[in-house]
């Protein structure tokens, strides 16, 4: 049983999240301000936390900083503040994820589960598979060329052959940006006859399969006007 702390001054939101998480078999601790959240984290074994920013008594930013002083659990900030500056601030002070209100409950649940997996299961998996020359990895995304399998935070993902090839090509050159034509020439092994969006469509499909939120990709990133790359913040 995994314990997740949910902290928001709006009780209905806490209740709703509680319902969603319980359906996934996750135990929920509820708090309605930063101080309560802190107490719960100190007294119970918590595996992840969802924290609102704008709360009475102690706000989410302070609360996150306090928790980070004593614990390395995943923290997901859930806020109505959707400015880039707010997101950057939240991630910089120690949060692992940032979800804006109004949120898609399924996305939130997916993020919670993803973070839990990263925190509880995959903590020491990196080294084991990282040595293998046929295993390519970026954060929670692992491509094993031996078994021709792709997993995201431990969950297997089904890809077509071309999608698999594109992903492997980008993973092999992690951090490098490739234009549509470059990708085309490398995967299809022929000259790009004309510029079209075949590659772009494939990339989109890959993103939809491996990303929780395809519009804000974590692994396969679009460098607009230049190309694509695999990159992770960690």
């Amino acid at each position: 049983m995994q314990n997740v702390l949910v902290c928001d001054d709006d009780k209905e939101i806490v209740e709703a999240i509680d319902i969603y998480l319980k359906q996934e078999g996750i135990n929920v601790f509820k708090a309605y301000n930063g101080l309560e959240a802190l107490e719960i984290v100190q007294k119970n074994e918590i595996h992840a936390a969802i924290i609102d920013i704008m709360m009475p008594v102690m706000d989410g930013i302070q609360c996150t900083m306090k928790i980070r002083e004593q614990s390395s659990i995943p923290i997901i900030i859930l806020s109505a503040k959707s400015e880039d500056a707010d997101k950057i601030l939240g991630l910089n002070i120690g949060a692992d994820d940032y979800v804006t209100k109004p949120f898609n409950p399924l996305e939130l649940v997916a993020r919670v589960k993803s973070n839990l997996r990263r925190y509880t299961q995959l903590g020491n998996a990196d080294n084991k598979e990282g040595d293998d020359e046929f295993v390519f990895q970026a954060g929670g995304l692992v491509l094993n060329d031996n078994s021709k399998s792709v997993t995201v935070d431990g969950e297997e993902v089904k890809l077509t052959k071309i999608e698999y090839n594109i992903l492997m090509f980008l993973l092999k050159n992690k951090g490098k940006v490739f234009s549509i034509n470059q990708i085309y020439e490398n995967i299809w092994n022929e000259n790009a006859v004309s510029v079209d969006n075949t590659v772009a469509v494939h990339i989109r499909h890959i993103r939809e399969k491996i990303e929780i939120d395809p519009k804000n990709p974590k692994y396969l990133k679009v460098v607009w006007g230049v190309g694509y790359k695999i990159d992770t913040e960690d």
Binding site: I13, Y20, I180, V199, A200, G225
Partner: protein
């Protein structure tokens, strides 16, 4: 060390205070010493002659000094004079009132005398008394017979038996010789002496007991003799006064000067001396040795051409001195002069000189060194203070520039200081003139000068440092009366040129100018023309300046017209009435600036308000969306309820979209976004975006057709914002395009003039609804085709797209043609390749 010294940039007020006082003390010392030297280096001799101590005497003893010799020279002159008077008045070394004076011989003492001449001889004392009492004259009218009776019938002629003119002898000395006179009566032809004649009232008779009229036989002779008598008498009286004065002054116990002068005529020797012991005889004495023993001596014997001395008086000088009274000094003379330098007991010029010399000369060099030293110190402190002036740290911790007194106009300060100098100088003069204790005492005078210099330097420092402070703070002109008066004149002039009516402003000056021209030219011709030319050049310069101002003003107006908000004209550069124009223009500019700022502030306020409100909306909206979602998961059998839930779900999602778009739109329109520009490939970009939309187009039954005219079209834009532009555009297409149609997308590069190229991305589709609005209204906020109000979307999409494109420097254009909807997003491109890479490679 110098740098360190300079780095310490401020000076405390207390050290400035102390240094200032030290400064004043320095100048006081300098002034006091200068006065001490001035006063101490000169003194007044007994007869009012002022002697100055000379620099070159500083190494010499008193009796060798130039001062001593100067005193000696002056005294010699007087002794020689005295000796001459003694010749006139003395016999055997004592005053002899009965000494006979032959008046005509005396008058002719410096010239040759006739062998027979008319004269009268009087005792010298009578002549002196006569002159002292005054000569009385009578005007008498004589008949011929009365005249004949009054005058003698014969003329008495005197003849000198010996009238030797060799060896410096002269008529007077010859007449003084004993038994040298022969008198003869000569009968001359009668002359008619009738008429008015001036008669000298006889007061004394001659030694022969005669009156004047007894000696002469006609009026011409009478008048001439009278003239000789009165002139001689006057001279004698004058000489007698000086004789008495000098005889007293140069008596043995009053002077340290010794003289012994002998004159030998006809083997008779006369002696003139003030050495009493030598009067009675010089037997057995070597006079030269006697005089040498006094210390400083001069011996001169013209006859033997013998001259010896141990003073700096040379023979020529002495001869010059003797020359004044040559008639008493023939060749057969011997002069002995000496100054008793060992026993200068008597108070005379030598003694005063010696005292002054000893008081001052030993310190001569030291005093000058001290003066120079303090003067240098004064200058150094003055400069030092000047460097730090304006950087003074006061006791309250402030570092001062300008002080309150610096607000007083500088001219007044200078005037005040000058007045203080004047008062102090007047005070000094007053004290010297009215208080003998000051004027006679060198030390008092020096002290007074010091005190006054101290006070004067206070005033000087006050003015000087005030000027320096002002100069450093660039206040010098600002606080001056000059500036004030210039401003007043300028204002009056400006008023005159602005406030009058058109006639006064234009016609009157023109007529006046013409009249003045004519007048000047007619009045002074060439000079007038020169003046007129100079004046016209000045006026021309003024007019040129006025026109320059106009260009400035026009330029500013144009800039305001173009929309610049910070347009200001420097009014101080304008002339005449243009300053008022400039002022008004600045006011307009200010109000424009204010209006722009206010609207920007309002816009930002609005954006903030919308952001905050949307935050507040989002929280309850979250709950709505979540619970609707939860409801959907419940197994609800009633189809009605399911339908209601679907509607709720739909609308809540739309509300969410709406709030996001609202915030976005207000932020962009208030300029509240930051743009991160980078070089990006427009063609690649468009392909990527289309990749994202591929499925979406499919789901709306639309067929996208993309044609890129060129590949590698680089533009300068913010990739994320540009993505939103294209995203909004394509979303719009999906929503409003007629299903089962093709959507054409083209990327073309258009060659504009001057090597500038434009990359245009255009989207064309057929609208499924009638487009009943104008193209530009589509990009207004919240505007959509009427029909679409009820469908998905906020209506802000195109507005946001346009605002963002414009913010990135691109152009966003919508063209409506029937049901054809066309949107262009254009950016300037500097770099692009021709054709697509495939065609390049196959070549």
């Amino acid at each position: 060390m110098v740098e360190k010294f300079l780095k310490h940039k401020t000076m405390s007020w207390i050290s400035r205070y102390i240094l200032r006082i030290f400064l004043h003390i320095c100048i006081a010392i300098v002034f006091a010493l200068i006065l001490y030297i001035y006063k101490g280096s000169s003194f007044m001799g007994s007869d009012g002659h002022v002697y100055n101590l000379q620099n070159e005497d500083s190494e010499l003893s008193y009796s060798d000094s130039g001062l001593f010799n100067e005193i000696l020279k002056d005294n010699l002159r007087k002794v020689v004079e005295l000796s001459a008077y003694q010749t006139l008045f003395e016999t055997d070394g004592a005053y002899d009132g009965n000494k006979s004076i032959d008046v005509t011989a005396f008058i002719n003492r410096n010239s040759a005398l006739q062998s027979d001449y008319i004269t009268a001889v009087y005792p010298v004392s009578n002549l002196i008394k006569w002159s002292q009492n005054g000569f009385e004259y009578e005007d008498v009218n004589f008949t011929a017979s009365e005249s004949k009776n009054y005058l003698s019938s014969t003329t008495v002629y005197t003849h000198l038996k010996k009238n030797n003119v060799e060896g410096g002898m002269n008529a007077f000395l010859n007449s003084q010789l004993d038994n040298n006179t022969v008198r003869t009566n000569v009968k001359e032809a009668d002359k008619d002496g009738a008429g008015f004649h001036t008669v000298l009232v006889p007061r004394y008779k001659t030694v022969y007991n005669e009156n004047i009229e007894d000696i002469v036989s006609d009026w011409d002779e009478y008048n001439e003799l009278c003239g000789n008598i009165t002139e001689t008498a006057s001279t004698m009286a004058a000489c007698y006064e000086r004789y008495m004065e000098y005889a007293d002054k140069y008596s043995f116990y009053k002077t340290n000067l010794r003289y012994y002068i002998t004159r030998t005529i006809n083997a008779r020797t006369e002696v003139f001396t003030n050495v009493d012991s030598l009067k009675n005889g010089t037997n057995g004495l070597n006079l030269k040795d006697v005089f040498k023993s006094y210390g400083r001596y001069i011996y001169y014997c013209p006859y033997d051409i013998e001259y010896s001395t141990n003073t700096q008086i040379d023979e020529d000088t002495l001869r010059q001195i003797l020359g004044n009274f040559q008639y008493t000094y023939p060749d057969q003379m011997k002069f002995y002069f000496a100054v008793d330098v060992n026993k200068t007991a008597n108070v005379d010029d030598f003694k005063i000189g010696k005292d002054a010399f000893n008081r001052y000369m030993p310190y001569y060099r030291q005093l000058h060194i001290i003066i120079v030293f303090f003067a240098i110190v004064y200058l150094m402190v003055l400069i030092h203070l000047a460097i730090y002036e304006g950087r003074i740290e006061y006791h309250d911790g402030t570092v001062g520039g300008i002080e309150r007194i610096d607000m007083i106009p500088i001219e007044l300060v200078i005037l005040f200081t000058a007045a203080v100098f004047g008062i102090l100088f007047g005070l000094f003069q007053f004290s010297v003139n009215n208080y003998p204790s000051v004027s006679s005492n060198t030390l008092n005078m020096a002290a007074l000068a010091g005190v006054l210099a101290f006070a004067g330097d206070n005033a000087f420092a006050y003015a000087l440092y005030s000027i320096i402070r002002r100069a450093k703070a660039r206040y010098l002109y600002k606080t001056s009366l000059l500036k004030y008066s210039v401003e007043v004149v300028r204002k009056i002039f400006d008023k005159m040129t602005l406030k009058q009516n058109l006639f006064v402003r234009t016609v009157v000056p023109y007529i006046l100018s013409a009249i003045i021209h004519l007048y000047l030219i007619l009045r002074w011709s060439i000079v007038g023309i020169v003046i007129v030319i100079v004046a016209d050049v000045a006026i021309a310069i003024y007019i040129i300046n006025l026109n320059k101002d106009k260009f400035l003003i026009i330029d500013a107006l144009q800039r305001i017209g173009k929309g610049e908000i910070d347009v200001k004209i420097d009014i101080s550069k304008l002339h005449g009435a243009n300053t008022y124009m400039g002022e008004e223009l600045n006011k307009i500019s200010s109000s424009v600036e204010e209006a722009v700022n206010r609207s920007m502030r309002d816009e930002k306020l609005k954006a903030d308000l919308i952001t905050n409100v949307s935050h507040d909306i989002k929280t309850p909206l979250t709950s709505i969306i979540n619970y609707v979602d939860l409801l959907k998961r419940e197994n609800i059998d009633d189809p009605k309820v399911s339908e209601y839930i679907r509607i709720l779900d739909n609308k809540s999602q739309r509300l969410r979209q709406l709030t996001d778009d609202l915030v976005e739109a207000s932020k962009i329109s208030s300029g509240n976004i930051t743009l991160n520009f980078s070089e990006l490939n427009y063609a690649e970009f468009v392909n990527q975006v289309l990749g994202e939309f591929y499925e979406k187009f499919d789901s709306f039954d639309l067929v996208p057709i993309l044609k890129c005219d060129k590949y590698d079209v680089y533009i300068h834009a913010d990739a994320r914002q540009l993505y939103r532009v294209i995203e909004n555009l394509l979303n719009n297409v999906c929503k409003y395009a007629l299903p089962n149609t093709r959507v054409y997308m083209d990327l073309i590069v258009v060659d504009l003039d001057n090597d500038t190229h434009k990359a245009i991305f255009s989207v064309k589709n057929i609208s499924k609804n009638e487009l009943n609005i104008k193209a530009d209204e589509l990009t207004e906020r919240f505007i959509r085709g009427d029909i679409s109000r009820s469908t998905e979307g906020s209506g802000l999409g195109l507005s946001i797209a346009k605002s963002l494109t414009t913010a990135m420097g691109g152009e966003f254009e919508i063209i409506l043609d029937g049901d054809l909807f066309k949107a262009n997003v254009a950016f300037e491109t500097g770099k692009f390749s021709n054709g697509n890479p495939a065609s390049e490679k196959t070549d």
